[in-house]
C-alpha cells in the first residue's frame, strides 16, 4: 500500500483490508511508515518483542585533545562543525552525517565515533495476526534502513509460519523510505484521492514503481469528495494504463468506528457492519487473483 501524498487513506484501507483478508488466509503485516506508525494503533496491536535499531555512530570531540586548529571545519561538507568560544571544535548533531571526514582530517585524533540507538523494531500481535513495525526516534536519519529491517523481520515471520502474504503499509512520499518499502514487492496498491494533489503525487509514485519494475493498481479513496477530481483520477489511470480496482466513498461513519476500535471501546468486528466494507470486499476480489498470480 503506497501513495505519494500523505493522508489519502493507506492505513485506514490497510486496516479494513487485512481484516477481510485474514478471515480467509494468513497474513503478516509490515507497517513501513516508521516515522508515523499508525497501523498498530488502528489494530490495537500488543507488542510481543522489541529489538534495538542502531543508528549511524555519533561523532564526538574530545576537548582534552582538540587543539582548535580548524582543519576539521574545512573538511566537513555539511557545515556541522564550528569552533566554540573556548576554541574547541563543536559538532552540530543535526547537520552531521557521520561520514568521518573530520576524524580523518584531525591531526591529534580528537574526534571519535560512538554507537547510538536510532529506534526499534517491534513485533506485535493484532486481531489479524503478526504485525511488524518500526519506531524511529524523532530527528534520526536512516528511516529507509529501518524500513528494510522491518520488512526483513516480517519476511522472517512469514517464512516461519508458512504465510505467503505480506501486506506493507508504506510511508508517504517517493524518497528513500518509499523506495525501501516498494523495492522487491510483488505489487503496489496505490491509494489516491480525488484532488489535484492526489493525482500529481500518484503520477510520481507510478513513475517510481515503474523504475523499480513493480506493477501498480489504483484505488480511489474518498471518491465522492469531488466529482471533477474523481474524473481526473479515472482519466489518469486510463492514460497510464493502470487498473482502477475500486472506488471508496467518503464514509463519515468510518473514522469514528476506527477510532472506537483503536481506543478499545469496540471490538474490531464492529467494523464489518459498515457499508464501506462492501467496497473493500469488491476491491479484494479483484486483488486476490493478482496477489496469487
Amino acid at each position: 500500500m503506497a501513495s505519494g501524498k500523505g493522508g489519502t487513506g493507506k492505513t485506514t484501507l490497510s486496516a479494513v483490508l487485512v481484516r477481510l483478508v485474514a478471515r480467509r488466509r494468513r497474513v503478516v503485516i509490515a507497517d513501513c511508515d516508521v516515522e508515523a506508525s499508525n497501523l498498530p494503533v488502528a489494530l490495537r496491536a500488543n507488542v510481543v518483542t522489541r529489538s534495538s535499531f542502531a543508528g549511524n555512530p555519533r561523532a564526538v570531540v574530545d576537548e582534552d585533545f582538540c587543539e582548535g586548529c580548524g582543519d576539521c571545519l574545512d573538511r566537513c561538507r555539511f557545515g556541522a562543525l564550528s569552533l566554540s568560544d573556548k576554541g574547541f571544535a563543536v559538532i552540530d548533531p543535526w547537520m552531521c552525517e557521520s561520514c568521518g571526514a573530520c576524524a580523518q582530517a584531525c591531526r591529534v585524533d580528537a574526534i571519535s565515533f560512538v554507537p547510538h540507538r536510532a529506534g526499534e523494531i517491534l513485533v506485535g500481535k493484532g486481531p489479524t495476526g503478526p504485525i511488524v513495525f518500526g519506531r524511529l526516534r524523532p530527528g534520526e536519519d536512516l528511516s529507509g534502513k529501518l524500513v528494510t529491517s522491518v520488512r526483513e523481520r516480517a519476511e522472517g515471520i512469514a517464512n516461519e509460519r508458512g504465510t505467503d502474504l505480506i501486506v506493507i503499509d508504506g510511508p508517504p512520499g517517493i524518497g528513500c523510505p518509499a523506495i525501501a518499502s516498494i523495492t522487491g514487492a510483488n505489487g503496489v496498491l496505490a491509494v489516491t484521492e480525488p484532488t489535484l494533489s492526489g493525482e500529481h503525487d500518484l503520477r510520481r509514485l507510478v513513475g517510481l514503481a515503474h523504475q523499480l519494475q513493480v506493477p501498480v493498481k489504483v484505488v480511489l479513496n474518498k471518491a465522492d469528495l469531488s466529482a471533477t477530481g474523481a474524473g481526473r483520477i479515472r482519466a489518469a489511470c486510463q492514460e497510464l494504463e493502470l487498473e482502477l480496482v475500486g472506488e471508496v466513498a467518503f464514509d463519515a461513519d468510518l473514522p469514528p468506528a476506527l477510532e472506537a476500535v483503536a481506543q478499545g471501546e469496540a471490538p474490531p468486528s464492529s467494523l464489518d457492519a459498515l457499508t464501506v466494507v462492501r467496497s473493500f470486499q469488491k476491491i479484494w476480489s479483484r486483488l486476490e487473483p493478482w496477489v496469487d498470480g
Binding site: 505519494g4 501524498k5 500523505g6 493522508g7 489519502t8 492505513t11 516508521v34 516515522e35 508515523a36 506508525s37 499508525n38 494503533v41 488502528a42 549511524n56 573538511r75 561538507r77 555539511f78 543535526w94 547537520m95 552525517e97 557521520s98 561520514c99 568521518g100 571526514a101 580523518q104 524511529l136 524523532p138 530527528g139 534520526e140 536519519d141 528511516s143 510511508p171 508517504p172 512520499g173 517517493i174 524518497g175 518509499a178 523506495i179 484521492e193 480525488p194 484532488t195 489535484l196 494533489s197 500529481h200 503525487d201 510520481r204 513513475g207 523504475q211 523499480l212 474518498k222 469528495l225 469531488s226 471533477t228 477530481g229 467518503f250 473514522p255 469514528p256 477510532e259 483503536a262 481506543q263
Partner: protein, 295 residues
Amino acid sequence: MKPITIAIASGKGGTGKTLVATNLAVFVARTGVRMTLADCDVEAPNDHLFFDVHPDVSVVEVPIPEVLAGTCPEGCTVCRDTCRFGAIRMLGGGPVVFPDLCHSCGACVDVCPAGMLGERQVRVGQTGAGVVQDGLGLVMGQLDVGQMKAPTVIGATRERAGTEGADVVILDAPPGVACSAVATLHGVDFLVLVTEPTSFGLHDLVLMVELGRELKLPMAVVLNRVGTGVVDVAGYCQSEGVPIIARFPFDREVAACYADGGLLVDGHRLGHQWFSDLWESLREQLASIGSGVPA
C-alpha cells in the same frame, strides 16, 4: 534583513499542511507583508498546483566520486575502508562506486593515496522560483523520481527561499520526523504543527512535539478537521504547554475547494476570516518570542 521563517509541519501525512501553508501565505501577502512560500515537501510537492506560476528552474546536483584513468596501487582498499556508507566496493582490482549509497562527503577522494578518485556532479532534483502575485513568491523543491537525496533538495529550496528578499518565509514541510523533517525545520523561527483529532493525529503529533523540543523550536498547533474524531488533542497540548492557535472544522466544502486546487481565502465563505484569525494568533506568538513581524 533576515526573514522570519515559519515551518508548517506534521508527523502524519494529509493533515492539512499544504492547505494551511498556501492560504496563510496568500492571506499574509495581501496584508502587505512581503512573503515567500517554499514547498519543502520535495517528494510530493503540491503548493504550485494552487497557483499559476511559471517558475525559473535550477538544477540540484550532488558530487559523486568517479574513478579516474590509471591504476590503483596493488591491494589498496583505503577508499572502501574509509567510506562509512558502503558506497564503494572493490571489484576487479579497483573501486566501484554505488551512487545511491553515497553521501557526497568527499572522504574517499581526500584519502586516496594515488589520486585515482575525482568527482562528477549528479542531478538529484530541482528548485523553481516564480512570482504568484505582487509580494508573494513561490519557491518549490522537487526530488527527481527514483532519487533518495530529499534533504539535499530541501536544503537547496530553503537556501533559494532565503534569497528572495521576503519579510516572512513559510516552509511547507514534508510529513514525518526523520532527516527530511530535520532538514526543513532546523533553525526556523517558529513551528506550526497541523493535526487532526484522531488517534493517528495525536500519535504523530506527540512525535512531532518531541522533535520540536529537541530542535528547541517555539511551536503551536492548528487543529484541523474538528468533528472527524473525539480524541483529546487539547488536553495533550495543554499538558505540554503548546498552544492551539486555530481550529478548522471538517467541512465537505473545504474538501471540495481543496480538491480542485482552490484557495479557501477566495473560495470559501469563512476562509478569509479563518486565516485572518490564524495570522493574528501567529503574530501574537511571534511577538511573545521576540520576533517582530512587520505591520
